[in-house]
């Protein structure tokens, strides 16, 4: 398993993706008596787009919260970059290079688009309190360097016109895009997207899909996404994990998963006769 996981992997579309970046081993998550995730194992490979799908309440968001370090699994281990990850605070996980967006937008509504995305670079900024208080030399240089990096992301996401607008005033679709920008600003090793297309119209979904593919393609970012829209998932992802009632019922390339009996039953329902 460990030997094979370092090998590259060729997807259905003929894309070659890298070795395993993250491995989730026998993850179980319980809240009191409620079992949100039951003994799930899967891996995430370098440079792939990995989708997690499943009906409502299947435990997808809980899984993402385990990956992002917001929840500590009751049982099981998260291996990141070949090492088991110790119990960490969420901000320490972020420092390791894992960034995410949220199902319900979680932007800093009082701040401008630019400041929101600049905040995404917080794990990369080093100057201390005193240097910033005087704003000479180091602090100002650092700010300018990071501003340049952020402007690249703003260009990439085509949101130049709202650079200085407070994000609370932006329409929903743009807020989603700013949130993606904030996650990208961290230049993450692993990018987690929790329903990036929820509540969007077709045009906005197309835009967002394009951005996700471009991020993966141009920056080589490994992406894990949760999505309900099956069409989008099948088009975007290289490999899919299917969850239902906290269990994994399918794992593999999109076409294989689509034809999996258990998956069809979970999604379409099954007659009990």
């Amino acid at each position: 398993m460990t030997m094979a996981s370092a090998e590259p992997y060729v997807t259905e579309d003929g894309r070659t993706i890298g070795g395993v970046v993250m491995e989730l081993k026998n993850i179980t998550l319980r809240f009191g008596g409620v079992v949100a995730i039951k003994d799930i194992s899967f891996d995430i490979r370098e440079g792939e787009i990995r989708a997690i799908i499943g009906p409502n309440g299947a435990g997808k968001s809980s899984m993402l919260n385990v990956i992002s370090g917001f929840y500590t699994p009751t049982e099981g281990e998260v291996w990141f970059e070949g090492k088991p990850r110790p119990k960490m605070r969420p901000y320490q996980v972020a420092q390791q290079g894992i960034a995410r967006t949220f199902q319900n937008i979680a932007l800093f509504s009082g701040m401008s688009t630019l400041d929101n995305i600049m905040t995404g670079r917080i794990t990369r900024m080093r100057t201390g309190l005193f240097s910033q208080a005087l704003w000479m030399g180091k602090a100002e240089r650092e700010e300018t360097e990071h501003r340049a990096a952020v402007e690249k992301i703003i260009d990439f996401l085509e949101i130049q016109h709202i650079r200085k607008t407070p994000v609370g005033r932006l329409p929903y679709g743009l807020q989603k895009r700013v949130e993606l920008g904030r996650a990208l600003a961290a230049e993450p090793r692993l990018l987690l997207l929790d329903e990036p297309m929820a509540g969007m119209n077709v045009e906005e979904k197309e835009d967002m899909s394009r951005f996700i593919l471009d991020v993966n393609d141009e920056f080589g970012t490994t992406i894990v996404l949760i999505e309900h829209d099956m069409g989008v998932v099948m088009d975007l992802s290289d490999r899919v994990v299917v969850m239902d009632y906290g269990k994994k019922i399918g794992d593999g390339p999109p076409t294989e998963v689509r034809n999996n009996k258990e998956v069809i039953d979970a999604y379409l329902g099954v007659s009990h006769d």
């Binding site: 992002s68 370090g69 917001f70 605070r89 969420p90 901000y91 996980v93 972020a94 420092q95 960034a99 995410r100 949220f102 979680a106 932007l107 800093f108 509504s109 009082g110 701040m111 400041d115 600049m118 905040t119 995404g120 670079r121 917080i122 794990t123 900024m125 100057t127 309190l129 910033q132 208080a133 005087l134 704003w135 602090a139 100002e140 650092e142 700010e143 300018t144 501003r147 340049a148 402007e151 904030r182 996650a183 961290a186």
Partner: protein
């Protein structure tokens, strides 16, 4: 007409992120600085200094301090009066223990001591939020006032229980004690205000300020994208208390000269400064000045108008004055819940387009 960005091109990120992006604003700011530093000191008399300018400047420092904590970092505090008392008593102890050291250093050190005390009382903020945190800081307020009343060491065992500032000089000019000239008081406070406001601006525009605002706007998301909440909240408490401590030290040493802790730094002071930042505008340095000006200058102005111009009896005027100030606070908050700073921002937006509607 002249209030325009047109023709004022920004060619670097440094220019683009400067404090006053519009040229007119920049000149206006320099003009205010020049008048405040080079003109006012020659004309100021003790009435103007003691009734208006010195308290305004000191409250502005305290308001900036509280605004950093409450307006920028979202942690509500009702302990401002207590922290000002820490600054005042720290300054007093340092002044009397080390009479040869420069008073400016004592005031800065008093800020440092208050910062440490502020961090200590800020620890509950790691577990509790909102109103509950406000109640925890209220405990700090009452505890600190009680402490300075009960432990005679803090007031050097003086019979009255008061502390009074001995005379100290800077470059041979008295800045504390009974022989201080009005202009010296004013200038000391002004220099502290200018430097501290500039530092506050620097802190709030960089990564530290953004981490404070991130915690304020959505603390869970902030932590997940990499803001260390412990560090962000405790630095906010430290910086805020540093400012409030300096304000307390100046309030005692330079402005009043002698204080009794319950009277000068009671719970009313905490509320007064909280009202200043709410009326002035949360999360705005200009708002801190506007709020301090509103609550310091307005009562004096009303008194002058009612007693001086209209000839009303003093006691009646004092009551009416409270009613008018109270009513104005309500009117302001209904008209613009985000304070004077927001009104100012809207006015500037309009001015940029004037005389065109949009």
């Amino acid at each position: 007409m002249f209030y325009r960005e047109a023709g004022d091109f920004k060619t670097s990120y440094r220019d683009d992120s400067q404090t006053f992006p519009i040229r007119f604003d920049r000149y206006r700011y320099y003009a205010v600085l020049v008048v405040a530093l080079a003109v006012v000191p020659f004309f100021i008399d003790s009435y103007w200094a003691n009734a208006l300018l010195v308290p305004f400047l000191i409250y502005a420092i305290a308001a900036i301090g509280l605004n950093i904590l409450t307006g920028y970092c979202g942690q509500v505090s009702l302990g401002t009066g207590g922290f000002m008392a820490v600054g005042a008593y720290a300054c007093y102890k340092l002044m009397t223990a080390f009479p040869d050291v420069n008073i400016v250093l004592h005031i800065i050190a008093a800020g440092g001591i208050t910062a440490a005390v502020g961090v200590l009382f800020g620890l509950p903020s790691l577990r509790i939020k909102g109103f509950y945190l406000a109640v925890a800081t209220l405990a700090a307020q009452f505890f600190l006032v009680w402490l300075f009343n009960k432990v005679p060491w803090f007031y050097n065992y003086s019979a009255s229980g008061q502390i009074s500032a001995p005379e100290r000089t800077v470059f041979g000019i008295a800045v504390t004690g009974p022989n201080t000239e009005a202009w010296a008081k004013y200038l000391v406070c002004l220099l502290f205000v200018v430097v501290l406001a500039w530092v506050a601006r620097n802190l709030t525009r960089g990564s530290i300020g953004r981490s404070w605002m991130a915690i304020r706007d959505m603390d869970i998301a902030a932590e997940i994208i990499g803001v260390n909440p412990l560090k962000a909240k405790l630095t906010a408490f430290a910086v805020s208390s540093f400012y409030i401590g300096i304000a307390g030290a100046l309030f005692f040493a330079v402005y009043l000269g002698a204080v009794e802790v319950g009277e000068a730094f009671g719970i009313q002071k905490s509320f007064l400064i909280l009202f200043m930042i709410i009326i002035g505008g949360l999360g705005s340095i200009f708002g801190s000045f506007a709020g301090a000006a509103f609550l310091v200058l307005l009562p004096v102005l009303l008194k002058n108008v009612l007693v001086g111009t209209l000839g009303w009896p003093t006691d009646l005027a004092a009551h009416i004055e409270l009613m008018i100030v109270g009513a104005l606070i309500i009117v302001f908050l209904i008209a613009e819940p985000h304070g004077i700073a927001q009104l100012w921002r809207i006015a500037k937006e309009k001015l940029r387009l004037w005389p065109f509607p949009h």
